[in-house]
Structure formats: structure tokens, C-alpha cells
């Protein structure tokens, strides 16, 4: 049987090094929800021309539900306006691009403050997650005929460990601040998981979606919670999930950076995730490098450096077999974000070519084709 063991070992090695089995380099375009009609179609063509076969779509709850629905888990509730997302999802399907969707941006009616980063009520947030899952479970009727496409991968929220997306992070209790966001997010994740699975059994529910924060400091309501601390809190709360998501914007090159969180944080995250869902995949649903300074992103590299570090990003993602996707953010620069493959004027940076090269050498696994 020695020959069999050798043959199996060779096959295993081949699988391990095959680009087809490595992490998928993917690309998000945050402008998609702002476009419609011909402009959206052109933009989707542009996204497709990068070679990406996976993308991420931010479903802005406040856009979809400008008023409170009577039955929040029913995507057909008249309060909902899905037009822009139906068009995006259908456009992606037409181009054979697999979406990962996340949802955030709390509607005004949901909280007393009306702020879009206000922490949602668990039941309302989970009901919206269910509405997304039900609308895009592959059976929901499309007004234009047929059914709307299936979306299997649903991220619960976006960066719930920072106040920009989840407020408050900490609450004052007995004269000091105590961490609150992790507990509240864990409740949302658990409730969303159950409701999503109930209406879309093959859905992959992705938890965490942590923003790139290293240290935790609970000294005000808008503090930030570190990536590892947040993951530990999820373990403590025993949340259900099918995959873990985290965002990486390393200080330093992908191969050299070691601050938390960076690519070198992946093994620690895997260990924590194993306590929730052994062997669950890791999705890096945002990563990238800025090519100029702005006050929100004080660390920058040159455009040529961005290109070479995009290639290194793929190398690092492939170093960890459980990392299934590394999502570059973003397609195009805007005044607050200069990590795009394209400048604001749509001219190509060197990273455009690097990304095209990265996607040219990979094929999407069958599991990701639907």
C-alpha cells in the first residue's frame, strides 16, 4: 500500500499548491449601490474587466428600508425598496461574478438617535438579514420574470468593532466604560444565523467582519475593539457561524507586517474560529493599500508599491489554506479612499495590471460558482 500512500501524498501536494485551490483574489466596487440603469451596467462591465469572479456588495439597510416595514423579515413588504440591489445581483449573475453581501447602515427609524452607525435592535437586524436571505435564496420571483439569483454568502454587518459602523462600542457602567458592542453583535449574529438558515438553508453565514483594529481601549463610547479581542468575545458568546471575516490594512508589506491585524494574525484567528466552527474558512473581505495621505488613512505607499504589494497580498493569502478569498478594496479612488486600482479620474494605476495578472492565474472553485 506504500504506492497508494505516495500517490495520495502527491495528489495532496498538488491540491495544496494548485492556484485553483488557493485564495481567490477578488475586488469590491463600493460605487455599485449608487448607480442604476446604463451607468450600473457600464460599471459592472468595468468590474468584470478586472478579471474578478467574486465581489462584495454593501447592502445599505437605510437605503432598502427608508420606512419601517410591517413585516421586516418579508422582503416583499411594501416598505422595502430592493430595486438597486436586484439590479446589482442580477448584473453580477449575468457576468458570472459571485457576490458576498454584507449589510449595515441602520435606518433612521430604527434607533432614537437616527444615526446610521447606531447599533440595531437585535430582532430588527436579524429580520432584515432574513429578508436579504429570503429575497436572494434563488426562489424569489423576479418581476421581470423567473427568479432572482441565489446569494449564498451573507456577512452579518460590517466592522462591528469600530464606532464608525457600530455605536456605542462601550457603555458607561458604575463609573467606568465596559465593552458592549461585542455582546450586542454576538446576539445579532446568532439571531441572524438562525433566521438566514431558516429561509436559505444553503447560505453561508459569515461572522466577525472585523475592522482593522489592533488594540482595544474601552475608554469612551466610540472606542475601538481589537480584532483578536472581538474574536475572543465571539468565542465567549458561542456564536454560530459558517465562516469568519476580517479586514486587513497592514502597516508594512503583506509579507513583513506583523501588527495585529495583519496576515500574520491569521493563525491566531483560525485557532479562535476553530472553537466556534472547526475548520471554518477565513474570508478577508477587505484589504488594500492607500496611495496617498488623507486624514482617515494616514499610512500610504506609492502607486508602484501598491501594485507589488497587491501581488504579495495574493502570496500571503495563499500561504493560509483556510483563507478562501482576499477582497481588494476598492475599484476606484474617492477623496476618502485612495486604495483603488483606478484613480478618481478612472485612469489605471499600476495595481490595475497587478490585479489583472493575479486573477488571470486563478480559477474559481466550483463551490464558489453559486
Amino acid at each position: 500500500m506504500k504506492w497508494l500512500r505516495v500517490a495520495l501524498a502527491i495528489v495532496a501536494t498538488a491540491i495544496a499548491v494548485s492556484p485553483a485551490m488557493g485564495a481567490q483574489m477578488a475586488l469590491q466596487d463600493d460605487q455599485l449601490p449608487n448607480l442604476s440603469g446604463a451607468a450600473l451596467e457600464q460599471r459592472l462591465d468595468l468590474l468584470q474587466s478586472t478579471g474578478t469572479t467574486i465581489t462584495r456588495v454593501d447592502i445599505l439597510w437605510g437605503f432598502v428600508a427608508p420606512t419601517r416595514p410591517a413585516d421586516a423579515s418579508d422582503p416583499g413588504d411594501p416598505a422595502y425598496d430592493w430595486a438597486r440591489y436586484d439590479a446589482i445581483i442580477k448584473g453580477l449573475r449575468a457576468r458570472d461574478i459571485t457576490p458576498i453581501v454584507d449589510f449595515a447602515w441602520t435606518p433612521k427609524w430604527e434607533t432614537p438617535s437616527g444615526d446610521r452607525n447606531a447599533a440595531p435592535r437585535t430582532a430588527d437586524g436579524a429580520a432584515f438579514a432574513a429578508a436579504i436571505a429570503r429575497r436572494y435564496n434563488g426562489t424569489w420571483p423576479d418581476a421581470a420574470g423567473g427568479t432572482l439569483p441565489l446569494v449564498r454568502r451573507i456577512e452579518v454587518w460590517n466592522e462591528p468593532n469600530i464606532a464608525t459602523y457600530w455605536y456605542p462600542q462601550c457603555r458607561r457602567q458604575g463609573g467606568r466604560y465596559v465593552l458592549d458592542s461585542a455582546r450586542a453583535y454576538a446576539a445579532l449574529l446568532a439571531a441572524s444565523y438562525a433566521q438566514i438558515k431558516a429561509v436559505s438553508p444553503t447560505a453561508i453565514v459569515i461572522g466577525g467582519v472585523t475592522g482593522p483594529v489592533g488594540d482595544s481601549s474601552c475608554n469612551s463610547t466610540d472606542s475601538s475593539v481589537g480584532t483578536l479581542t472581538f474574536a475572543k468575545e465571539m468565542v465567549r458568546n458561542r456564536v454560530p457561524l459558517d465562516a469568519w471575516s476580517m479586514h486587513l490594512y497592514p502597516i508594512g508589506s503583506p509579507t513583513q507586517a506583523y501588527f495585529v491585524p495583519s496576515w500574520k494574525t491569521i493563525p491566531q484567528i483560525q485557532s479562535l474560529v476553530d472553537r466556534l466552527s472547526p475548520g471554518a474558512p477565513i474570508y478577508v473581505t477587505e484589504t488594500g493599500y492607500h496611495t496617498s495621505y488623507n486624514r482617515y488613512h494616514r499610512y500610504f505607499v506609492s502607486e508602484s508599491q501598491q501594485a507589488s504589494w497587491l501581488t504579495q497580498t495574493q502570496t500571503m493569502a495563499n500561504r493560509y489554506p483556510r483563507v478562501e478569498v482576499a477582497m481588494w478594496f476598492n475599484l476606484q479612488d474617492n477623496p476618502y479612499w485612495t486604495g483603488g486600482l483606478l484613480r478618481e479620474d478612472l485612469t489605471q494605476k499600476p495595481a490595475w495590471g497587478a490585479f489583472r495578472q493575479a486573477t488571470a492565474g486563478q480559477s474559481r472553485p466550483a463551490e464558489w460558482s453559486r
Binding site: 482593522p212 483594529v213 501588527f259 482617515y296 499610512y299 502607486e303
Partner: protein, 348 residues
């Protein structure tokens, strides 16, 4: 659209201690290490920039911190700095100029291989405003910047020549414009003051002086400096250049209206200079000199360590001096380097 406030920054500060210290009654500015410092006084503020490599365990990136403190003859409480971080290359041309109103400033942080940003501080919410930051290879690198009336202007150089950039953040208009100007420039070789643009090319022995405007620089005159120009500092009244000739150095003051140039100091080494009001201050080693109204510079004080930078409002002199002190860290005595900014004395 995503906005991240001080994310990555949390990771950064994990390895590079925030380089500022201050207290409500601060008399000194204390900066960690011996970075490259530039400083200026104007509008009731002392401003400074501090550039140094930040060493992580496996790589180096560069940091430039720009800070400010109220100044009324003494230094007040240090406020939160603008922090710039990059791996784009060695940062070798950071400069800061006070803008004269609201304790504001313009800071630039270019490098040997990248343009770097032009930042104005601050809008009504005390938030810094980025006027230019171009990541393209070969983009014009800012060499000097300042306030000209209500317009922030900067002079930048690249392989294709010099440009004058302008924006009006003071009036809420952040649109930057850029026009070509004669010649070229490099790190530290350009400066802007109200009604004055001054610049020199790398290796040049003359400076160009003119009146900046949105269409370019008018009335440009070229003034020989008698050696290779190493730095340029403009005020509304005059332009100061550090000039090298062999092993000798001199500080040349060129009056703006007349174009008359005169040497106010000469010696060896590479002096640091600053100007304000009608005065020039010069530091070499631990010695500080000052010149008022174009007179020969006179000894004006002695620093406790090598002078890293100077600033003056025309009356008082602030020195940033490099010092070492012994400190005990985990029972081990170690030498700690720091740069201290303090009021040295008065212009003579």
C-alpha cells in the same frame, strides 16, 4: 464610501510611541528621538515637524509628526499632532510653516521617491485638510509651502520642472490648481510667504524670487547667492538662503523689494536657519546667532545640545535641541535620546 478614523493608526502607535509630550503649563516641547525637525512661529503658535524612520521588527517605515502649541513669548500646551506615515520611501523634505491666523500651519512631507502630502491645519472643526497628495511615480514633490494672503501655495519639483500649487482652504475651497513656473526645485529649496515665492534648483547658485498668483509667479528675478543653495526660507520682507561653498557655509539675506543680497553669517558646517519679523536666527552646533534688519549675526545663546531647528517671531528665539539622558527601564540603565523645544532667549 468608508471613513476610518485612526484605524491602522492604532497599530502604528503600538510600535512608535506618540512623540509628543506636553502639559497644561508646558514650557518645553519634548519629542522622542533625534528626528529631522523644522519649526516656525506665527499667528500666536509655535509649529514644528519631526521626521524620522520608525523601526518595526522586520521593516522600517517613515513618520512625520506635525505639532503646534500656543506661543506668546512662552510655549503653551501642545495639541494633538498631524501624523503622516509611509512606506513609500525615505522622507527627506518635511517642512512646516505657520500661517499666521488661528494658530494654523501648512505642512509638507515629501520623500526621495514620492511626492507626499500638502496639509493645511485646520478647518473650523480643528481637522486637517489635505490639499495635495499624489502617489504617482514621478509626481511633483512639494519643496516648500505657506500662506499667501488667503491662498495656501506650494512649490513642487519633478523631472519635468517646477509647479506652483494653490488652494483656498481658509475660504473653504479645497480645489487645488497647479501651474508651471520657471526652473526646478528640490527638498527644502522652496518657500512661500505672503506676496513672495522663492525657490532654487538642485545644485543651483542662485534663487528665483517673485510674486505668486493663481496664474504662476510674476516679476521673477534671479539673485546670485555666491555658492550652492542648500535651503530657502521666505518671509514677506526677505528671503534667507543657506549657501555652501566648499567646506564653508554662509547665510544670505535677499531683500524682496530690492533684490539686494548680503551675507549675515558665515562659518563652517551646515547651519539651520529660521526667520520671522525682520530677524534671522542661525544655529550651528550648540551655538545660536541672530541677525536683525540685515545686520551681521551676533551670538544669541547656547543650546544644551546640538541645534536641530530654530524658530523666531522676530523677537524671541525657540530652539529644538538634541539631548540625551539616562533612564532606567526594567532595572537597566539606558541612554534615551530626545529633542526638546524651548525658548532660548531674544533676538539681538
Amino acid at each position: 464610501m468608508r471613513r476610518r478614523t485612526a484605524l491602522g493608526l492604532a497599530a502604528i502607535t503600538g510600535v512608535a510611541a506618540l512623540a509628543l509630550a506636553g502639559s497644561a503649563q508646558a514650557a518645553n516641547v519634548v519629542l522622542d528621538g533625534w528626528g529631522t525637525i523644522t519649526a516656525d512661529i506665527g499667528g500666536g503658535a509655535l509649529v514644528w515637524s519631526d521626521t524620522a524612520p520608525a523601526k518595526a521588527a522586520t521593516f522600517t517605515y517613515w513618520r512625520t509628526d506635525t505639532g503646534r502649541a500656543p506661543f506668546s513669548g512662552s510655549i503653551g500646551k501642545v495639541t494633538e499632532p498631524v501624523l503622516i506615515r509611509t512606506s513609500a520611501g525615505i522622507s527627506n523634505g518635511a517642512r512646516v510653516r505657520a500661517t499666521g491666523t488661528g494658530r494654523g500651519y501648512v505642512t509638507i512631507a515629501p520623500g526621495a521617491a514620492y511626492a507626499g502630502p500638502v496639509i493645511w491645519c485646520c478647518d473650523p472643526t480643528s481637522t486637517e485638510v489635505v490639499l495635495s497628495s499624489d502617489g504617482r511615480d514621478g509626481a511633483p514633490a512639494p519643496a516648500g509651502a505657506g500662506l499667501d494672503g488667503t491662498r495656501v501655495r506650494w512649490i513642487a519639483g519633478s523631472a519635468s520642472g517646477a509647479v506652483l500649487g494653490s488652494a483656498s482652504p481658509v475660504e473653504g475651497d479645497l480645489r487645488a490648481t497647479s501651474v508651471s513656473i520657471p526652473g526646478n526645485t528640490g527638498p527644502g529649496l522652496a518657500s512661500i510667504a505672503t506676496g513672495v515665492a522663492a525657490w532654487a534648483g538642485k545644485g543651483s547658485s542662485s534663487i528665483s524670487i517673485g510674486i505668486p498668483g493663481d496664474d504662476g509667479v510674476s516679476g521673477v528675478r534671479t539673485v546670485a547667492q555666491g555658492g550652492i543653495v542648500r535651503s530657502v526660507f521666505a518671509t514677506p520682507l526677505f528671503v534667507v538662503a543657506v549657501v555652501k561653498s566648499g567646506s564653508r557655509a554662509k547665510v544670505v539675506r535677499t531683500d524682496v523689494p530690492s533684490g539686494a543680497a548680503r551675507t549675515v553669517w558665515s562659518g563652517s558646517g551646515s547651519p539651520v536657519v529660521a526667520a520671522g519679523g525682520n530677524a534671522i536666527v542661525i544655529g550651528t552646533g550648540i551655538k545660536v546667532f541672530s541677525s536683525k534688519g540685515g545686520t551681521k549675526a551676533r551670538a544669541s545663546g547656547t543650546a544644551k545640545g546640538t541645534v536641530a531647528a530654530l524658530a523666531t517671531d522676530g523677537r524671541r528665539i525657540v530652539v529644538f535641541e538634541r539631548i540625551t539622558r539616562k533612564a532606567t527601564v526594567k532595572k537597566h540603565t539606558t541612554t534615551v535620546k530626545s529633542t526638546v523645544g524651548r525658548v532660548l532667549g531674544s533676538v539681538r
